[in-house]
C-alpha cells in the first residue's frame, strides 16, 4: 500500500482529478467577469459615464482587445456589440450579471458532485484494500490485533479521508484560483488597496497555520485515544464474566472514566485554541473593510479612484477572506488526514503479508485422493524466534488415520496447522499426491484440507449456512439479472472495476455441491443429516426444529403434515388412555393448565403487541374487558392475588429464589403493593387511581387454575372469560389482526413452534412425569410418520447467534467438525477438535468420525494419548521434534515417549 496519502491519491485518482480541472478554470473566468461587471453597472449605467446625453447610446457586449507589441500592437474589435440606450443598457448588464451567477452556480454544482463521487470511490478502494490486508494477515499476527480497533479504523478513522480526497487537488485549485482572482482584481483596480488586502492575507496564511500546529498534535492524540477506547470497550465485553467474577466492575469504571477524562482534556485545550484562532481570523478579515472605507473613501474624495471601482473592490474583498480561510482549513485537513492515513497504514503494514497470489481465484487441479502426504523437514520458527516445529518429516498414505500426540508444548497444534497449510513453514515442504502444496494457493489447500481447531468459530448464520460455509470457494454459477436489476448490477460492476474491488457477485451460486458429493440443493439436506449423525448432533438439531416456528415459506405440504402429526398424537394419547395428560386448546373450553392471559388471547402473539407477559397493559384487551364487564371482577381477583402474594412472600429475604419461581410480584415491588393494599383498605377498590388499577389488573392474567390452586377463578368466571375470548376475536380491529394467530384445531399455527402445533394444548401440570412421557411419545409419533428428517431440516434454519453463542459449546464444536466432513477433504486435520467434549462423547465422536472417514486421510492431534490406539499410525512429538512414529501396538511396548504418555507416573 502507498505510504503517504498523496501517493495514494496520485496513483488512483489522477485521471479523475484532472477531469475536474477544466470546470474549475471555467468557473474562475466566470468569477472574474462577475466581479468586473458591477463596476461597469455602477460607473457606466447608473452614474451614466457612458451616457453624457439623454439620447446617447452605449455598445453592449463589445469585444475588443489590444494586440501585444510583438504582433504589431493596435486594437482589434472582432465584435462591435449592440447599441443600447441607458435603461435597456442597465437591464442588459444586470441580466448578464445574473447569467454569470447562474453559470457559476452550475459549475460549482458539477464540481462538487464530481468531488463527492471521487472521494467515495477512493474511500471504497481504501476500505477494501485494508480489509483485503486483514484477509491476508498471517495467522500468528492475529494474536496482536484487536478486532474492535481494526473495525474502528476501517469504519470510522478513514471516513474523513474520503471527503478530503475529493478536495485534495480541486479545493486548493479552486480556492486558490478564487483568492488569486479576487486579489488580482483588487490590485488591478488600485495598487494601494491591493497591497492592504495582500498584507492581511499574508498575515492570515503565515500566522494562523503556526498557531494551528498544536491543534494537529491534539487531533492525533485524540484519534489514538478514541481507537484505544473502542478496543477497551471490546475487551470489557469479551471479559465481562471475569469482571463479574472478580467484582472489578468499579475498577473498570475508573479506568474507562480516566480514558474519557483524558479525551476530554485533549478536547478542552483543542477548543480553547480553535476558537481563539477563529476570533483572530475573523478580526483580521473584518478589520480590512475599515481600511478600505477610510483609505478608499479618501481616494474617491480626492478623485484618484472612481466610486464603481471602490464598490467593486469592497465586493471583491468580501469574497477574499473566505477562500483564504478555507484554504488554510484545507491545509489543516491535509495535515490531519495525512497523519490519519499514515497511522492507519502503519497498523496494516506487516512484512509477512501473504502474497495476493495465495488467495487468487484460480483454476486448480484436483488433488489425487491416492498416494501419500509427504512432509519433508518441516520447520516453523515462531515470532519469538524459537523453533515450534523442527525438522519434522513423515509420509502418510492418503487412506490412513494418523494420531498426533505429545505432552504440553510438544507442538501438536503447530504441526496440525502446518499440515493443514494454515501457516507457512519457515523451512521444508509439504506434498500431497505428488503435488507440492507448500506455497500452493488457498484455492487448492482450502479444498484439499479441512481443519478444525479448538474452539472453532461459527458465523452468525443458521446452522445450515454454517455447515455449507466450507463449500463456498468460488462462484459456481453466475446469478442472472433482468431489467432494472441488470442495470443495477452493471452499475455495480462498473464501479467495482473503477475502485479496484473484486467483480465476484455475492448473489451468484457459491455453494460447490460437487465438493459435497451431491448434485444440488435438494440432496444437500440428506448429506447434512448424514454428517450430523456422524458427529452425534442430529438429535440436538431435531430438538431445535421442534422448538422452531415455521413461516409461510415452507409451504402448504409441511403444514398439512404437521396437522397430520397433531391428529396422530391425539390418537396415540387416546389409545394409551392418557388423553387427559394434555389439555387441548378447545375454543369452547377454558384451559385450566393455561394462564388467564393465554385463555383470553387464545392464540399465539405475533410481535410484541399482545405480549403474553404484558397483556393486561394492552389498550384493546382493556377495551374487551370493559365491554364484557370483566374489569371489575378481575380487579377484585387482582386484589386477592396481591393480598395473598404479600402475605406469602413478605417474610422471605430479598433475592430468595422463590420470588423468581413462584411469586407474581418481584421483591422490589412488594412495598408498592403493600401501599396499594393500604390505599384499597382506605378508599375501597372503586376509589383507587388508574395506575393502581393497572397494577392490580396485571396480576390475575398470570393465574393458571391447575397450577396455582388459589381457587380464585371459579367456573362462572371461566365462562365469562370464554365470552371475552369470543368478543376479543370478533371485534379485533383490522390493524391488529396480524398481531395474533388464533388457536384453531383445524389449522396450522405459523406463529407457534412445531411442538406446540403438534401437541395443540398444555401438558397437564399435576400429572407426574407427564412432560417426559409426552415428549417421548411425540418423538415416537414423528418417527412413525417419517417426519424426523423434515423437522431436523427445519432445525437447520436455527440461527446460531454471534460466534455460535446460542448453541452449547460442545454443539458448536460438533457443527465445526460436521462442516469439515461435509466438504469431503482429501485430508481431514483435527486439532484437539473434540477436546471440549466430555471423555465419553469424545470417545464416541472419535470412533464415528474415524468410521465415516474409512479409507480417507485423517490427522488428529489428540489431547488423550490413549485414543491413539484407534489410529493406523501414531506420530509422537516432543518439543517440536518427531520423537517416534509407527503403529500404536509397537510404540506402546517400547519404553518410549508414547509409553510414558500412556502411563504417566
Amino acid at each position: 500500500m502507498e505510504r503517504t496519502l498523496f501517493k495514494f491519491i496520485t496513483r488512483y485518482s489522477k485521471r479523475e482529478q484532472l477531469l475536474i480541472v477544466p470546470f474549475v478554470v471555467a468557473s474562475m473566468v466566470v468569477y472574474f467577469l462577475s466581479l468586473d461587471l458591477p463596476k461597469t453597472i455602477i460607473n457606466q449605467a447608473i452614474q451614466g459615464h457612458s451616457f453624457p446625453n439623454p439620447d446617447s447610446v452605449a455598445s453592449f457586449l463589445r469585444f475588443s482587445f489590444t494586440l501585444p507589441a510583438l504582433l504589431g500592437g493596435g486594437r482589434v474589435t472582432p465584435f462591435d456589440g449592440f447599441e443600447l440606450s441607458r435603461l435597456p443598457y442597465l437591464f442588459a448588464l444586470c441580466v448578464t450579471f445574473l447569467t454569470l451567477i447562474v453559470i457559476n452556480g452550475l459549475l460549482k454544482l458539477r464540481i462538487n458532485t464530481m468531488k463527492g463521487w471521487l472521494g467515495e470511490r477512493m474511500l471504497r478502494r481504501l476500505r477494501f484494500q485494508l480489509f483485503d490486508h486483514i484477509l491476508r494477515f498471517p495467522l500468528p499476527r492475529f494474536r496482536r490485533v484487536k478486532a474492535a480497533e481494526m473495525a474502528s479504523m476501517i469504519k470510522d478513522e478513514i471516513e474523513p479521508l474520503g471527503g478530503f480526497i475529493g478536495d485534495s487537488v480541486i479545493t486548493p485549485l479552486f480556492l486558490g484560483g478564487q483568492a488569486l482572482t479576487a486579489l488580482f482584481f483588487i490590485v488591478y483596480q488600485n495598487i494601494a488597496l491591493g497591497m492592504v488586502a495582500l498584507g492581511v492575507v499574508a498575515v492570515q496564511t503565515v500566522v494562523i497555520p503556526k498557531l494551528r500546529r498544536r491543534l494537529l498534535f491534539l487531533a492525533k492524540a485524540r484519534q489514538l485515544g478514541a481507537r484505544q477506547l473502542a478496543g477497551r470497550i471490546a475487551e470489557c465485553v469479551d471479559g465481562v464474566a471475569e469482571i463479574h467474577a472478580h467484582g472489578t466492575s468499579n475498577y473498570e469504571r475508573a479506568e474507562f472514566s480516566d480514558r474519557l477524562g483524558r479525551l476530554f482534556r485533549i478536547r478542552f485545550e483543542f477548543y480553547q485554541r480553535k476558537f481563539f484562532i477563529k476570533f483572530l481570523n475573523n478580526f483580521l478579515s473584518q478589520m480590512t473593510p475599515f481600511i478600505f472605507y477610510s483609505i478608499g473613501g479618501y481616494l474617491v474624495i480626492v478623485g484618484r479612484l472612481d466610486i464603481g471601482a471602490l464598490v467593486a473592490v469592497i465586493a471583491a474583498y468580501k469574497d477574499l477572506p473566505s477562500p483564504v480561510k478555507e484554504l488554510i482549513d484545507w491545509d489543516q485537513r491535509r495535515l490531519d488526514v495525512s497523519i490519519k492515513y499514515s497511522q492507519v497504514i502503519e497498523q496494516f503494514t506487516v512484512e509477512d503479508l501473504m502474497p495476493t497470489a495465495v488467495q487468487d481465484m484460480v483454476e486448480v487441479p484436483a488433488v489425487p485422493r491416492e498416494g501419500v502426504l509427504r512432509a519433508a523437514n518441516l520447520t516453523l520458527v515462531d515470532e519469538s524466534g524459537a523453533k515450534a516445529i523442527e525438522g519434522v518429516s513423515f509420509e502418510i498414505p492418503l487412506h490412513e488415520h494418523v494420531a498426533l500426540v505429545g505432552g504440553h508444548g510438544s507442538g501438536t497444534t503447530e504441526l496440525a496447522q502446518l499440515v493443514a497449510r494454515l501457516v507457512f513453514p519457515t523451512n521444508g515442504s509439504l506434498e500431497i499426491g505428488g503435488i507440492d502444496v507448500t506455497r500452493a494457493p488457498e484455492a487448492l489447500t482450502g479444498r484439499t484440507f479441512a481443519y478444525v481447531g479448538t474452539p472453532s468459530y461459527l458465523f452468525p448464520l443458521s446452522v445450515r449456512d454454517n455447515l455449507i460455509y466450507g463449500l463456498k470457494h468460488r462462484p459456481i454459477r453466475e446469478a442472472e439479472y433482468e431489467g432494472e436489476a441488470l442495470s443495477a448490477r452493471r452499475f455495480q460492476l462498473r464501479e467495482a472495476e473503477r475502485t479496484g474491488t473484486p467483480l465476484y457477485d455475492i448473489n451468484a451460486q457459491w455453494v460447490d455441491y460437487d465438493a459435497a458429493g451431491v448434485s444440488g440443493p435438494d440432496e444437500m439436506d440428506a448429506r447434512i443429516l448424514e454428517v450430523l449423525h456422524v458427529v452425534d448432533l442430529d438429535e440436538a438439531i431435531f430438538e431445535l426444529g421442534l422448538r422452531s416456528a415455521v413461516d409461510e415459506s415452507h409451504g402448504e405440504a409441511l403444514r398439512d403434515r404437521m396437522l397430520g402429526a397433531r391428529e396422530a398424537m391425539r390418537e396415540r394419547l387416546e389409545s394409551l388412555n392418557i388423553q387427559d395428560w394434555v389439555e387441548r386448546f378447545d375454543p369452547a373450553q377454558y384451559n385450566r393448565n393455561a394462564t388467564l392471559a393465554e385463555n383470553l388471547l387464545f392464540g399465539t402473539p405475533v410481535g410484541r403487541t399482545f405480549d403474553i407477559e404484558n397483556l393486561a397493559a394492552n389498550a384493546y384487551v382493556r377495551r374487551v374487558l370493559d365491554e364484557t364487564g370483566l374489569t371489575d371482577e378481575l380487579l377484585r381477583i387482582g386484589h386477592k392475588v396481591a393480598e395473598t402474594m404479600v402475605e406469602l412472600f413478605s417474610g422471605l429475604p430479598p433475592g430468595h429464589e422463590f420470588f423468581e419461581r413462584f411469586s407474581f410480584i418481584r421483591h422490589e415491588d412488594l412495598p408498592s403493593y403493600q401501599a396499594l393494599l393500604a390505599r384499597i383498605l382506605e378508599s375501597g377498590l372503586k376509589g383507587i387511581g388508574n395506575a393502581d388499577r393497572d397494577q392490580l389488573l396485571a396480576l390475575p392474567f398470570k393465574l393458571s387454575p391447575a397450577r396455582h390452586r388459589l381457587g380464585l377463578l371459579d367456573d362462572a368466571l371461566q365462562a365469562r372469560v370464554l365470552d371475552a375470548r369470543r368478543y376479543f376475536a370478533q371485534h379485533l380491529p383490522e390493524n391488529l389482526t396480524s398481531a395474533v394467530e388464533f388457536f384453531d384445531p383445524q389449522r396450522y399455527n405459523t406463529a407457534a413452534s412445531l411442538q406446540d402445533n403438534i401437541l395443540f394444548g398444555k401438558i397437564v401440570t399435576g400429572q407426574a412425569e407427564a412432560a417426559t412421557r409426552i415428549g417421548a411419545l411425540l418423538r415416537q409419533v414423528l418417527d412413525e410418520l417419517g417426519l424426523r428428517p423434515l423437522v431436523t431440516s427445519i432445525g437447520l434454519d436455527y440461527q446460531v447467534g454471534t460466534g455460535g453463542a446460542r448453541l452449547a459449546a460442545a454443539d458448536r464444536q460438533k457443527v465445526a467438525i460436521a462442516r469439515a466432513l461435509l466438504k469431503r477433504p482429501a485430508v481431514l486435520v483435527l486439532d484437539h477438535a473434540a477436546a471440549i467434549l466430555d471423555p465419553a462423547s469424545q470417545s464416541r465422536a472419535l470412533g464415528r468420525v474415524l468410521d465415516y472417514r474409512k479409507g480417507q486421510a485423517v490427522i488428529w492431534a489428540l489431547s488423550r494419548a490413549e485414543f491413539s490406539e484407534r489410529f493406523d499410525k501414531v506420530l509422537v512429538l516432543e518439543r517440536g521434534k518427531l520423537a517416534e512414529h509407527g503403529a500404536f501396538e509397537s510404540l506402546k511396548c517400547t519404553d518410549g515417549l508414547l509409553h510414558k504418555l500412556l502411563n504417566p507416573a
Binding site: 395473598t644 406469602l648 417474610g651 422471605l652 390452586r709 400429572q767
Partner: protein, 148 residues
C-alpha cells in the same frame, strides 16, 4: 382441592403444625400437586431424595428390593407422609414407592422443606422428636432380635 384445603391438610402433621400460617401457605403454594396413575413409580430405591410427599388420595406401596425380590415394607394412604426424613441426609432413597391406585400427592421439594426447618425452631424440634422416636423404635426392634 384448593390451597386452603391443602393448608388444612399439612397442619395435621406435627412438623408443620407449629409453623406460622403464612409459612404453611407458602409451603403449599410452592409445592406441586401431582397425580400418579395406578402402577406408576414415584421414586426408586437408589434415586436421589429430592422431595417429600403427602398422600392426598389413593394408596402407595413402599417396597425394598432384595436379591430375592421386592419386599413390601409399608402401605401408605390418605394423609400419610413419605420420605420426609430421607431428604435431610444426603443418602439415596432406600425404598421404592409405587402408586397402587390412581393417587394424588403434594410434592414438597427438599429445598422448601429445609427452608421451613431452618426458619422454624418448633418444626425442627418436632423433627428431632420424630427422629428420636424412630431411633428408639429401631433400637427396640434390634434388641428384640438380638440373640440371647
Amino acid at each position: 382441592m384448593s390451597l386452603e384445603q391443602e393448608v388444612e391438610l399439612i397442619r395435621q402433621f406435627p412438623i408443620f403444625s407449629k409453623i406460622q400460617p403464612a409459612m404453611q401457605k407458602l409451603l403449599c403454594f410452592s409445592s406441586e400437586r401431582l397425580t400418579y396413575e395406578a402402577g406408576q413409580v414415584m421414586f426408586r430405591a437408589g434415586d436421589a431424595a429430592d422431595a417429600a410427599y403427602i398422600v392426598i388420595d389413593g394408596q402407595v406401596d413402599i417396597t425394598v428390593p432384595t436379591s430375592t425380590g421386592a419386599i413390601l415394607v409399608n402401605q401408605l394412604k390418605r394423609n400419610d407422609i413419605i420420605g420426609e426424613i430421607a431428604i435431610f441426609g444426603d443418602v439415596p432413597r432406600t425404598a421404592t414407592a409405587t402408586a397402587m391406585t390412581r393417587m394424588e400427592a403434594l410434592r414438597i421439594s427438599k429445598e422448601m422443606f429445609t427452608n421451613v426447618i431452618r426458619e422454624n425452631p418448633d418444626a425442627a424440634l418436632e423433627l428431632i422428636k420424630i427422629l428420636a422416636a424412630r431411633l428408639a423404635n429401631t433400637t427396640a426392634q434390634l434388641s428384640r432380635r438380638a440373640p440371647g
